[in-house]
Amino acid sequence: MTARVDRIALLAVPGLAYLAVVYALPLLLLLAKSVRTPDGLSLAEYGAFFADDYNMGVLARTLRVAALTTLLALLIAYPTAFAMARARGPWLTVFLVAMVLPMSLGVVVKAFAWSILFRANGFLNTALQGLGIITEPMRMLFTETALVVGAANVFLPFMVLPIYAVVRQMDSRLPEAAASLGASPWFRFFHVTLPLTLPGVVAGSAFTFSMAISMYVIPSLIVGERQQTLSMLIARSFLYLRNEPLGSTISAVLLAIAILVVVSSSVLARRLGARQ
């Protein structure tokens, strides 16, 4: 028997070649910088990175912001996905345009729009003061809360669309069957709807989380230099400190987290899928 190559599989070659040259190769070169020291290969840079309290603080903030962003996006996206799945005709178009249009606007435009909303004499503060809820302008811009709110807005489509895809596929008879078997709305949600839509939740959360840990423009514009995230730290290492080994090391850490999230979520999704 001669091993035969599936000719359809050959269609993947251009894509793989492109990824190899444009993605894998530069990434490898970058990672190589993180372990190459004048004294040969060493993990000293990693040791130094993890020993630094400031770095650890940035890492913790990055993970916290990413987790909160994912959670907020999920809370908004989950009901939205059901409304979308229920929508018909022009309403569905409205939903899809509302999802996709903001993506084409660009983060920079949005971030400046938020600053008009959040700043001391901005719309929110003026409105709250006008209503007598607060007397002094609240600090909103340059806070972690503003960052989470803004980031959740940017990544929302990536949470909504995977959940929407799963919800739309779900047989609408299943909740009805559960109801006819005596299941209350709560029981139906936790024993039928949620388990069946969990693969979409996992996929959307993995997308959102991995984008949120590596975001750079949004935190730069909303919170600025005072509260760094890993991506900002990387940029600073390369651009200002000219410390390529440090930048490469943080990049590797970030990449490791992203890979961990993507792999574990796909394992989880497959396990959930295997039951169905």
């Binding site: 006819s180 005596g182 299941a183 024993h191 169905q276």
Partner: protein, 361 residues
């Protein structure tokens, strides 16, 4: 035309659907619907798609709210009760088994939803699976089952909770013909043995006749006739029922004379007599079931040129040449040879077997 059986107010019915109306986006699909079922009865809602049978089923189940009217089950008004409080199980056309649960977990679902402890569900679930002969499949995932097996699980899941009423929405339509007949026999005896009151929704008249004590034939949101299968077949209350249930010879006719209950009618193929009470001169539709027609002279006899002779194995069907819109059928038992297309034969049948319907001019 509605339910032909007169119902006195003193009659107590197990399920009493009264004056139910439903509109979708401003279009009335049902109004003044009355439908009553006795305890332990197996009833079918039979009709073409869009006749309102599924709407009625969903209103009874509580999966859809009626705009008007009431639903009373076992003396309890359930009109405003949500589906999960009605204790009415539904077997769906697609079976709607939970894909993330095993066979046993699917069957246990209704018990768990009612707050039964997991450990206490084992015995009833095992019993229900035994009843539908699926005990060996308890731990299988749903995706590993065939259509017939899925249907059995759906039935076990619906019955294990001890429902007051079982509703089945086209339960056999996804099965192939042979399996369908086996499952019909199985399910019918299962429901009978346990004294379950059940309503089948179907568009298949053979299925309805096979599984039910009574059949409600629905058309355009109304029940045209609600009767046992033999009455429905022998004495269809309207041309719609006559056409929907079984095959018939049908001929356009005009009443020429009336003598008491006996009408004389003129058709394109000759004179015919039939029992009825139409005024002379009025237009009518004549019908006879094909197996009641025989070769040779009868009380009514027409001379017919054969258009087609179909040998179907257990029977032979003769198609006669008829004017546009009319149809002449004669069913003979067994295989009949020696009859050929183009031949002219006499077809005869009894006056009493002739059905007559008035036709609005």
């Amino acid at each position: 035309m509605t339910d032909m059986t007169p119902i006195s107010p003193a009659d107590r019915h197990y399920l009493d659907v009264w004056g139910v109306a439903k509109s979708f986006k401003g279009t009335r699909v049902m109004s003044g619907m009355n439908f009553r079922v006795d305890r332990g009865e197996l009833v079918s809602l039979l009709g073409p798609s869009g006749c309102g049978k599924t709407t009625l089923l969903r209103i009874i189940a509580g999966l859809m709210e009626a705009d008007d009217g009431s639903v009373v089950l076992g003396g309890r008004d359930i009109t405003r009760q949500p589906a999960h409080r009605r204790n009415i199980s539904v077997v769906f056309q697609s079976y709607a088994l939970f894909p993330h649960l095993t066979v046993a977990e699917n069957v246990a679902f209704g018990l768990r939803a009612r707050g039964t402890a997991k450990s206490a569900t084992a015995a009833p679930v095992a019993e229900a699976l035994r009843l539908v002969r699926m005990s060996d499949f308890a731990d299988r995932p749903i995706a590993a089952l065939s259509g017939g097996q899925q249907q059995r699980v759906a039935v076990a899941r619906a019955l294990v909770v001890g429902p007051d009423l079982l509703l089945l929405d086209e339960p056999f339509s996804a099965l192939d013909r042979k399996l369908r007949e086996t499952m019909q026999v199985e399910l019918k005896s299962l429901l009978r043995d346990r004294g379950i009151t059940a309503i089948f929704v179907t568009h298949d008249q053979e299925e309805a006749m096979g599984v039910s004590d009574r059949i409600a034939v629905m058309n355009a949101g109304r029940i045209e006739q609600f009767a046992d299968p033999s009455t429905l077949y022998a004495r269809p209350a309207s041309p719609f029922v006559m056409d929907f249930v079984g095959l018939s010879t049908r001929l356009a006719a005009r009443v020429t004379a009336r003598d008491g209950d006996l009408l004389s009618l003129e058709t394109a193929l000759g004179p015919v007599r039939a029992p009825g009470d139409l005024a002379p001169g009025s237009a009518a539709l004549l019908a006879v079931r094909p197996e009641l027609v025989a070769l040779g002279q009868g009380e009514n006899t027409l001379s017919v040129t054969l258009e087609d002779v179909m040998v179907l194995g257990s029977k032979t069907m003769l198609h006669g040449r008829a004017p546009e819109g009319d149809r002449i059928l004669c069913e003979l038992p067994g295989i009949r040879t020696g009859l050929a297309r183009g031949e002219t034969v006499s077809l005869g049948w009894a006056v009493a077997d002739t059905l007559v319907y008035g036709v609005d001019p």
